[in-house]
């Protein structure tokens, strides 16, 4: 298993390099000019020098190498410096945003908590709702509850977040006036009153994202439970005279969770993609909104870094899912 893990980790390096190259080359084709918003009175040769100062004069492979170096060497150094107060980086050039002229990672670090709160909460809530629905649906197959569960998950698959979110705003913010429609990120939780407000402003974005997760995970949970309920060991357990709750919760559930856990791990990166839209609806100033702003402002280093971070997450969670599968199910060991 360790052997397999190491092999996969090594294999993920060329994968990530390839992805970085694809993103970089795609952005290289960008017609937008970061100098486009400079005053027209600046002479052409000065503009040319400004472009070179941004590092745009070099050929693309030099800049690609430089970006890789900054991403994988310089930025971790700054990170370590920030934590331990050391001085590894020694003033090396960081990845600088074209728009704000500040290090890209500082902006990302500012935006990260909002996204993590909303996305993380929604995932936990979504999985928490999905698992019981899946278990009961499978145990009482074709019952009213099962039909309703199927219908709800169909809705979760079909209603796009930009409609369910807007619908929730119309109902709960506009007509009923219960919940705020805009997520206030400056809000700080100090006492019960502010805690309540935080809860109120989080409930809608979290539920919108959670609906998607619930739809997917509950389907997998149901299918996996159904697979296991028909197995011989379940009959054996029942024949031994075990109570139904022990048969279901201890025997069937444990075995059914194996594929579901991997699905949950695989779904984490995609929920960040879904957050791009949800953040736009509820005006959460998280990573997704940052990406959209950077895209509109031709801020190539920012777009490149955020997109690549998402790619790293996808590759990492694929790896985690595969390894988890092997750890949980000894029949599927890869070596």
């Amino acid at each position: 298993m360790l052997n397999y893990t190491i092999r996969r980790l090594v294999l993920s390096i060329p994968t990530l390099l390839f992805i970085a190259l694809v993103i970089f080359l795609l952005l290289e084709l960008a017609p937008g000019d970061p100098m486009g918003q400079m005053p027209l009175t600046i002479p052409d040769d000065v503009k040319q020098r400004m472009r070179e100062a941004l590092g745009l004069g070099e050929p693309w492979y030099t800049r690609f190498y430089l970006w890789l170096y900054q991403f994988f060497v310089v930025e971790p150094q700054y990170w370590i410096d920030g934590i331990f107060g050391t001085n590894f980086a020694d003033g090396a050039q960081r990845i600088i945003s074209f728009q704000s002229r500040s290090p890209v990672f500082e902006t990302i670090a500012e935006r990260m908590p909002q996204t993590l709160w909303v996305v993380g909460m929604s995932y936990i809530v979504g999985v928490g709702i999905a698992l019981p629905i899946g278990i009961i649906s499978a145990y009482k197959q074709y019952s009213v509850f099962d039909q309703a569960g199927t219908f709800v998950s169909m809705i979760g698959f079909s209603v796009p977040p930009f409609f369910s979110g807007v619908l929730l705003i119309v109902i709960f913010s506009v007509n009923l006036g219960w919940l705020p429609s805009i997520y206030d990120t400056t809000h700080q939780v100090v006492d019960w009153e502010t805690m309540k407000f935080q809860f109120q402003q989080m409930i809608m974005p979290v539920m919108v994202l959670a609906l998607q997760t619930t739809a997917q995970v509950s389907r997998y949970m149901r299918a996996s439970m159904l697979d296991n309920l028909g197995q011989d060991y379940v009959r054996t357990a029942r024949a031994k005279g075990m109570t139904e709750s022990i048969v279901i919760m201890r025997h069937v559930l444990r075995n059914s969770m194996i594929p579901v856990v991997t699905v949950i791990a695989l779904g984490i990166p995609s929920i960040f993609g879904g957050a791009i839209i949800t953040e736009q609806i509820f005006k959460v100033n998280g990573l997704g909104q940052l990406l959209i702003l950077a895209l509109q402002g031709n801020d190539i280093p920012m777009v490149m870094t955020i997109t690549f971070l998402l790619a790293v997450m996808i590759v990492m969670f694929n790896l985690i899912a595969d390894i988890l599968y092997g750890v949980l199910d000894p029949r599927i060991r890869y070596d």
């Binding site: 017609p31 807007v166 996808i314 590759v315």
Partner: protein, 328 residues
Amino acid sequence: MTDISTQVQPVDKIDPNAPFQPEEKSRNQWWDVWDQFRSHKGAMAGLIFLTFITLFCAFGPMVWDVDPGKLDIRNKDVRPIYVAVWDGDAKTSWARPMGTDHLGRDIMANIMQGGRISLAVGWTAMILAIIIGTFVGVLAGYFKRLDWGLMRFTDLVLSLPLLPLLLVMMLLFRDPLRAAFGPENGIFLLIVFGIGITSWMQTARIVRGDVMALKEREFVLAARSIGTPPRRMITRHILPNVLSPIMVSATLGLATAIITESALSFLGLGFPSDFPTWGKILFDSVDRMTAFPERVLWPGLAISLTVLAVNYIGDGLRDALDPRIRGL
């Protein structure tokens, strides 16, 4: 019903080629599929709704002869006709059954026009994705030499962050394509192409698995023993037999394509605003949704119900095409 013909259409093309098809006396297998499909209530409801919305968008503008782009400032912000039921003072008009927007454009005409584009984008992008996916899947499954490379490539594409990349593509190629093909066709091509090349991977994986299983079957061995060349082998023996998984993933593809197009339009990176699609109308209406919730509701419902219908059709097709369930 018109949909029966579309259901059975692929059969006519494949039927004379399929080798182990029984002769005229017995029923065509697709009639069994259709019978099974009909017993799935949700799928039938989905099919009826999809037919309805397609006809509504395709032939609606001929009956409802209003130019969707025509500005009528005097009749702006007309509420839908049903608002008059509870609010007698509201500005309603029978000439504008779904109301007008802030520039006086007729909303019903816009929904029809938007539906035409959304559905056209969905279908074309889905067909493109299916063609690429089937091509890659069949090549990888049939030729062992290509398998490793093609599947690693599929894995690579699957680990790309697709939505951000699609957004980047929209932004970068919008202007060049618009200049080359005109504002409408350029964006249409870009969106269809973008969605197509980012959603073929699942189809490729499924088709590859099925082709690999088929390759071990006796009829393939028999065909090879009489010297059938690979090209004919694929078109005559392999492709007709992987048609069912392709059809199921086609329905899923249609649903995702419609949602992706709407999402792009909603993020302001899809079609330009004088060129309505359901996602675009929804996006344009969000700013005024407090006063005019219906403008958000109609396009949103259209997207959701269409996708729901397509998903149910996919569900029914999966059951109908699975011979283990059929006839129960």
